[in-house]
């Protein structure tokens, strides 16, 4: 059992090294980071999304649909987690609950979720009109 103890100690030390960051969205390195659901490389800034668990672990996605699929598959992790989407106009992360989502029409997102998010409702309406999409 001594080994077990040693390992857990090692674990604690390394965890200490890894964690200690404030919970919130983390910048995505495009063309390098992978979507945690579909494993594809994240490329398009406008569609990227993130899920931050209550413990502060960040999961990155290339499509809002991927995030929702991940939430459904990992209910334990998704409990009390915060979800972030990118404002399509500025490519800044915003909380999903505060965003207006636009879906369908001519929108083409990496994994076929075909959803864009906007911080500003007026922007969303304008984009929806332009792309033939509908507000969600």
């Amino acid at each position: 059992m001594k080994i077990g103890k040693g390992i857990s100690l090692l674990g604690i030390v390394t965890l200490g090294l890894v964690s200690c960051s404030e919970a919130g969205p983390v910048a995505i390195e495009f063309n390098k980071d992978q979507c945690d659901n579909c494993k594809m490389v994240i490329e398009k800034a406008g569609y990227a999304s993130e899920l931050v668990t209550s413990k502060g672990k960040v999961y990155k996605f290339d499509d809002i649909k991927c995030m929702h699929m991940f939430e459904g598959d990992n209910e334990e992790l998704a409990q009390n987690a915060k979800t972030y989407v990118t404002d399509f106009k500025t490519s800044q992360f915003i909380e999903e609950s505060k965003a207006t989502l636009v879906q369908g029409g001519a929108i083409k997102s990496p994994m076929g979720g075909d959803t864009q998010a906007f911080a500003n409702k007026a922007d969303a309406e304008e984009a929806a009109k332009k792309l033939g999409a509908s507000l969600k």
Binding site: I3, T14, L17, V18, N31, K39, V41, K44, A106, K108
Partner: protein, 410 residues
């Protein structure tokens, strides 16, 4: 023999040859096409042709002599196939336009059947060849390269060959470099991809998405973000391919995601960060593969079920195996592991004690990546040795009961 001649007689008797060039009856390809009937052959002499979009609505054979250049001036989709049995050979097709929504490329096939694209050079296009609803088409001996996006793709670039919703497409002996995906197959069936060289693409060398019943054979995938990604597909045959030098943070030789009922045989995986990554892969046979000098040999997530690893060779990998859980529902049988330290008293070529390919350190590194700091240190050696004597963390079922003493010769 003459029976076949009779078969072709109607074509021979009514087909015409039309020539395009500086000193030829027609100066522009578009005019020649407007004049041509289905079944005609158009010869195009060398030169620089800026004719915007050339729309092919008849079954025409377009042959380039001295490699004429078709220039899209960064504005147009250059060739549009809108009929069956179109042949395009011997051209250099450059500078296609760019449109994210319509995915325009240098050559696009709309519902085209029995068409051939052969011996062409594609340079600096957004997409090289895009095909939708194709049937029995051949893409052979093309060179598709692009430098758009500067290998960073702030301005995103397209795929070399992009096939969507098609059946029985043959993609043979092409060279693909610098595209997003070298070859991308989405909802494609019964397709044969062979002899291609796909290198330095931004994302994957070859990418299957929702594509069942396909085979790829004898291709080389080097220096891509991932050599090949097979996702959400069933029944894909993979044999005699080379996956080499796919290095980088999230780079893989072969990436399997939600795939089932497939065979991976006689492939070579060399110098990849991770040779094979399996997530949600079920009922796959890995047979006689060489996994050499990779960071990780095979990463099998614990959601992979009923995969069989038989007679593979694992040599010089930092870690042969890695997994992220304690559940093991895969079998390992008669593989060669260079880290095996057992003996063979009855000289039947099979080690007498079972081999556990999963080291404790690999398990720890998977859970806590920063443990990599201790790589090759004395502590790690000690840990692995102790784990061998008193297993405490590595799953017990992760075992090859009959490890081979010598690598398999191929």
């Amino acid at each position: 023999m003459w029976k076949y001649l009779l078969l072709f007689l109607p074509y021979l008797s009514f087909a015409h040859i039309i020539e395009v060039g500086k000193n030829k009856p027609y100066q522009s390809i578009k005019m020649a096409i407007a004049k041509a009937k289905s079944g005609d052959t158009i010869f195009v002499d060398g030169g620089h042709y800026k004719e915007g979009n050339i729309n092919l609505t008849k079954s025409i054979t377009l042959l380039g002599r001295n490699r004429p250049v078709l220039d899209g001036e960064m504005k147009y989709e250059i060739l549009s196939f809108r009929a069956n049995k179109i042949v395009v050979k011997g051209f250099k097709i450059i500078n296609s336009g760019k449109d994210e929504v319509r995915n325009i490329g240098a050559v696009r096939l709309y519902d085209s059947q029995f068409s051939v694209i052969e011996n062409n050079i594609f340079e600096n296009n957004f997409f090289g060849i895009t095909m939708q609803r194709g049937y029995k088409c051949l893409i052979k001996n093309n060179k598709i390269t692009t430098k758009r996006g500067n290998r960073k793709s702030e301005e995103s670039i397209g795929d070399g060959i992009h096939v969507w919703l098609s059946n029985e497409v043959w993609i043979i002996n092409n060279y693909l470099e610098g595209n997003k995906d070298g070859i991308y197959l989405e909802k494609v069936k019964n397709t044969y991809v062979a002899g291609n060289y796909s290198t330095k693409n931004l994302r994957y060398g070859l990418h299957f998405m929702f594509s069942n019943d396909n085979v790829y054979h004898n291709n080389v995938f080097s220096d891509n973000n991932a050599g090949v990604a097979v996702m959400y597909s069933m029944n894909v045959g993979m044999s005699k391919n080379k996956f080499i030098n796919n290095w980088g943070d999230g780079a893989y030789g072969l990436l399997l995601k939600e795939i089932s009922f497939s065979k991976i045989k006689d492939n070579i995986f060399e110098n990849n960060t991770t040779a094979i990554f399996m997530d949600g892969a079920t009922k796959i046979d890995l047979f006689k593969n060489k996994v050499k000098n990779n960071g990780w040999g095979v990463k099998v997530n614990s959601n992979c079920i009923e995969n069989r690893f038989n007679q593979n060779t694992f040599e010089g990998n930092t870690f042969d195996m890695s997994t992220n859980g304690s559940l093991v529902l895969n079998t390992f049988h008669q593989n060669y592991w260079d880290k095996y330290q057992g003996y063979d008293l009855n000289k039947d070529g099979i080690g007498d004690i079972p081999y556990h390919p999963l080291s404790l350190y690999a398990v720890l590194a998977e859970k806590y990546p920063s443990v990599m700091l201790l790589f090759r240190s004395f502590i790690v050696d000690l840990m692995d040795k102790t784990e061998k004597i008193i297993p405490s963390l590595t799953p017990e079922d992760f075992v090859d009961q009959q490890p081979l003493m010598k690598p398999i010769k191929s």
